[in-house]
Amino acid sequence: MSVDLPTVRKIASLARIAVTDAEAAAIVPELNNILGWVEQLSAVDTDGIAPMTAVIPNSLRLRDDVVTDGNRRDDVLKNAPQAEHGFFAVPKVIE
């Protein structure tokens, strides 16, 4: 499988990364080089093999359903590029 310019534009859009025409054109051969290389995996016989889900066997734990943290609004907002009235602020999304 290989990618072309429209595919790179689509991936970049899915990943929410703005790319210029020149950048997108440069990315095409780079991705194809890497994808061509990982393609060798298709030759590996994996019939009947379950995909790995946990690298070290570990059972998921449950904890008591209690509040362990909170009331830290100012901490949460401290690193926000723009915070107003105790909220994260973003450009207008509803006209």
Partner: protein, 492 residues
């Protein structure tokens, strides 16, 4: 008094306890070394005040008889660990100026054990790289040089600030993180030691995430004992990390032994890759001789899917990265780029275009592609199946041996700029370290000797899950026999 920066972690701890010097004297010596080593660009943020406060507290604790395991020991912290009140960047413009209001579990444990912090160490951006050249804060320059020239060499990556700072004696030890070799390869390049423990030993809470099923913190230092001391204080169950292992932390330091009698050391034949430089092969043979001399039985083993490990890694790691790095949206923290008149979607795209470096974008795009509709099974599910086969290879090998011995990297340190034009040739650097990462196994690198050009070469030991002790013991056995005392000539 002799220069305290010549002391490692054990010597600092013990000398401080014996009253040979104060913690403040030790901290001051390292703070001066950090300031004198700025040409190496190993630090993104220096934190002398933190080191001094911890040292003063250690001096007070000593007179009060309240010593803690790392009282008197200052450390470097990879700038991937969130440190409360101290900028944490992951070496990316995306997080420049980010000051976490909370502490990572690993640093919290280290500081709770009495350690101080000399600063936040440079790394590859979001830990993606093998040479430290993807940092948005400039290259780290290795203190090592080839005999007879002044070409700037890579300190390895992604924990390149950690390895350079230890090799240059600016810190006695440091934290690292390892996703595909990011502790072991930099240790090998700089003549230092580093261990990546079993996946789940150290909490990932507060470590900027790259590939969550692979990321694991570990210790880096001048020798094996120091790695054991540090790791003991970093490891342990943490309910804040769902994959943290709820098992006791052994007393690795107390139990250290370089005696390998009764141990079977496996030599995986598939690691004898085509085009392996003669000096790497010679190094490997030297390591085999060391292990045998320490009492181990040497057995040949097979890990049939070794060749598939790198391509598997370069599907899984970018896939997880594309998901993890979706959080950088310019809303909650980090950079925001809001072009005039832009809407929310444009803001996301502009922010991420401006904040991420080229390698990070490349991996996010690959990850987005392999996870996208129609390709998920062909790439991601297939890679997770091959990963299961790679893990099974190790399980089978460990039926006939207790440990594995391999070279850490396929070459000595390369020059800055030598490999970064071609992403694939850079990725191939991790050929020997990635398989153990995919299988979640403990693995360490120790110096084994010098290349013809006078550069350090590392040997890797891989162990069974949770057998850090076996890995450290074999590391010690090699260290005792390699007699590695070379140090970079001071030019910085």
């Amino acid at each position: 008094m002799s220069d305290l920066t010549n002391l490692g972690i054990a010597a600092l701890r013990d000398g401080f306890r014996a009253g040979d010097f104060s913690a403040r004297e030790a901290a001051d010596a390292f703070i001066a070394a950090v300031a004198a080593g700025r040409d190496l660009n190993a630090f993104i943020t220096e934190t002398p005040d933190h080191a001094i406060a911890a040292a003063d507290e250690a001096d007070r604790a000593r007179s009060a008889g309240e010593l803690r395991p790392l009282s008197g020991v200052p450390l470097g912290i990879k700038d991937l660990f969130c440190t409360a009140g101290v900028q944490t960047t992951a070496a990316s413009h995306m997080l420049e100026g980010f000051v976490p209001p909370y502490e990572s579990t690993v640093t919290s444990k280290l500081f709770g054990a009495g350690a101080g912090m000399l600063g936040k160490l440079n790394l590859d951006q979001f830990a993606m790289g093998s040479s430290n050249e993807t940092s948005a804060f400039g290259n780290v320059i290795s203190p090592w040089r080839r005999g007879g020239d002044t070409v700037a060499l890579a300190p390895g990556g992604s924990s390149g600030g950690s390895s350079a700072a230890i090799a240059a004696r600016m810190v006695p030890g440091a934290t690292g993180t390892d996703t595909g070799g990011s502790i072991r390869q930099p240790a090998a390049f700089t003549g230092t030691s580093g261990i990546k423990p079993t996946y789940g030993r150290c909490s990932r809470f507060g470590i900027v995430a790259f590939a969550s099923s692979l990321d694991q913190a570990g210790s880096m230092a001048r020798d094996v004992r120091d790695c054991a001391i540090l790791l003991e204080q970093m490891a342990g169950f943490d309910p804040k990390d769902a994959t943290s292992l709820d098992v006791p932390v052994p007393r690795w330091e107390d139990n250290l032994s370089g005696d390998l009698k009764g141990k079977r050391v496996g030599i995986p034949r598939e690691y004898r890759v085509e085009g392996m430089p003669a000096e790497i092969e010679a190094l490997w043979q030297r390591g085999i001789d060391f292990a045998r001399d320490a009492g181990a039985e040497i057995v040949e083993v097979s890990l049939p899917h070794t060749r598939q490990a790198l391509p598997t890694y370069y599907i899984i790691a970018p896939a997880e990265a594309s998901s993890n790095l979706a959080r950088y949206d310019g809303v909650r923290y980090g950079l925001r780029d809001l072009p005039d008149g832009a809407g929310l979607q444009d803001m996301y795209a502009a922010t991420r275009a401006a904040g991420f470096g080229a390698e990070v974008k490349r991996r996010i795009l690959i990850g987005t592609y392999v996870l996208s509709a129609g390709y998920y099974d062909a790439y991601y599910t297939k890679a997770q199946k091959v990963r299961a086969l790679i893990a099974r290879d190790f399980e089978r090998a460990f039926e006939t041996c207790d440990l594995l011995l391999t070279p850490t990297a396929p070459s000595a340190a390369f020059a800055l700029g030598e490999k970064n034009a071609d992403p694939l040739s850079m990725y191939l650097n991790d050929v020997f370290t990635v398989p153990a990462s995919l299988a979640g196994l403990p693995a360490m690198s120790v110096p084994g000797g010098l290349s013809a050009e006078g550069l350090p070469l590392g040997l890797q030991i891989i162990g069974r899950p949770l057998d850090e002790q076996g890995v450290l013991d074999a590391g010690l056995a090699i260290e005792q026999r390699a007699g590695f005392t070379a140090r970079p000539d001071r030019w910085w």
